[in-house]
Amino acid sequence: MDLSVRIGSLVLKSPLMSASGCFGYGLEYADIVDLSSLGAVVVKGLFLKEREGHPPPRIVETPSGMLNAIGLQGIGVHRFVREKMPELRRLGAVVIVNVCGSSIDEYAEVTRILSDCEGVAAIELNISCPNIKEGGIQFGCNLASTGEVVAAVRRATALPLIPKLTPNVTSVPSFARAAEENGADAVSLVNTFLAMVIDPETRRPAISNGMGGLSGPAIRPIAVRMVYECAKQVRIPVIGMGGISSARDVLEFMIAGATAVQVGTANFVDPFIWPRLQAGIEDYMTRHGVARVADLVGTVDF
């Protein structure tokens, strides 16, 4: 059974990836998950410098979902390369780094540093974090800026480049096209939905940042729709995510048009999910006589 999928020049042994920000730097999970068994480990968003993030409370549970505004706390690209990459390499992880920036220059600079680091397999360009002012959303909600930042980072790296798109726009496919036209090798979607929970007893937002990003099963039907729409409008691969919690959900996204998928919130609920997802995909392929998982991509009958 062939579970491999291709993202640009990269051939992954499985379509399953961890979603950025939901799997730490990967190493946190190294003693319970075989990192080399994943298609890729997408690590937490990195800026050039270290960042403190927002004060707690940073998350709140919502119906079948969660709201987060972590604020991209992180160790910065230099410490990541120094402190995390050696161990990730040793464990055989295919590492995709989620790159953040407050300016086009910062995006390009972080990307350049990572491109010089052995073992970084691809760049996921985070132009869609809804939770901090400089989180890229000013790039990700404007077509021209999306094109500009993608083009600039394209010039900075030969690695596969995967802009990560926000769902908080009228037409996600136009952003996917802008990414494609400016040299992206794939797009990933969706990042979280900008959302808000207010506690009526205190009349204050439930998380310190006021607003946050909604993830989890609640958003899955919207994410599937966006993946379907984007996959029809671009030729580059689409990496789908949003609420995936079971093999059924992985298959739903792939049939909608995703070449690979990422799992975020469900990994919090069930960090031992990975082998079960893979077994479920294999079971489906056996039952439906599918030899290569890539043959499922975009096969929705609609």
Binding site: G24, E52, E61, N68, P217
Partner: protein, 271 residues
Amino acid sequence: MPPLDVPALVLRNTHLSPDYNVLHLEAPAIAAASQPGQFVMIRTAAGTDPLLRRPFSVFEVLRDAAGSPSGISVLSKRIGPGTARLYDAAAGDRLLVLGPLGKPFSLVSPPAEAWMVAGGVGLAPFATLTEALRSTGAPARLFYGGRTRADLFYLDWFASRGVTLDLATEDGSLGAHGRVTAPLDDALRARAASLPVTLYACGPEPMLKAVAGLARTYGRSSQLSTERIMGCGLGGCYSCVVRVREAGGAPHFVRSCLNGPVFNGDDLVWE
């Protein structure tokens, strides 16, 4: 040992009050690996409501007839949908239990004394700590506060294990009238500086803050078990941070599920 995730059988659910219950869970491997102060993440329902797991201290390590660890209990206070489900769980149900997680308490040895300070359900980590202290031989004392006498549990359990009890209730129905930090303050003041004491505390944040203050005032070391909202318990989400100041450095956020839940009281920075 890496944490395990086991579909633990509910052996028994004892309702202590309209809010509090103790769940006995079959989980030998987690029980065997647990150290005082560690916690587990429990999935309180199949399906998506509630979605995330909930963190609970390991309350007791259960043992079979031969004395081998066979499971754990958790002491739970019902405050929302997750704890409501634990309150309603029935023997025979199965709950996914992930653990043990987090950094445990460090134990002290005689002549040092261990003074435990518990506010409400903050009692939870102190049963296993008491057992462990018995092996070091350090004398143990429990300062335990609650709203009212009916909210103080397991007093005989601690007393029968040689723990000196100092109780306080906010309505004065048992022990000192008011906060538990008042008798603690008195006791710290009364104790000669030459006699070592380590404070162990778990409870509401204002209590932890007060205990940290008392520790500083009286020059005692403290280990505080923090309770932050946790998305994962494994270091994946960065939701559970507390601000610490490590030797010389500037204050910064660290994940309480990995670097805690137990912290040195001197390191914590309160907002």
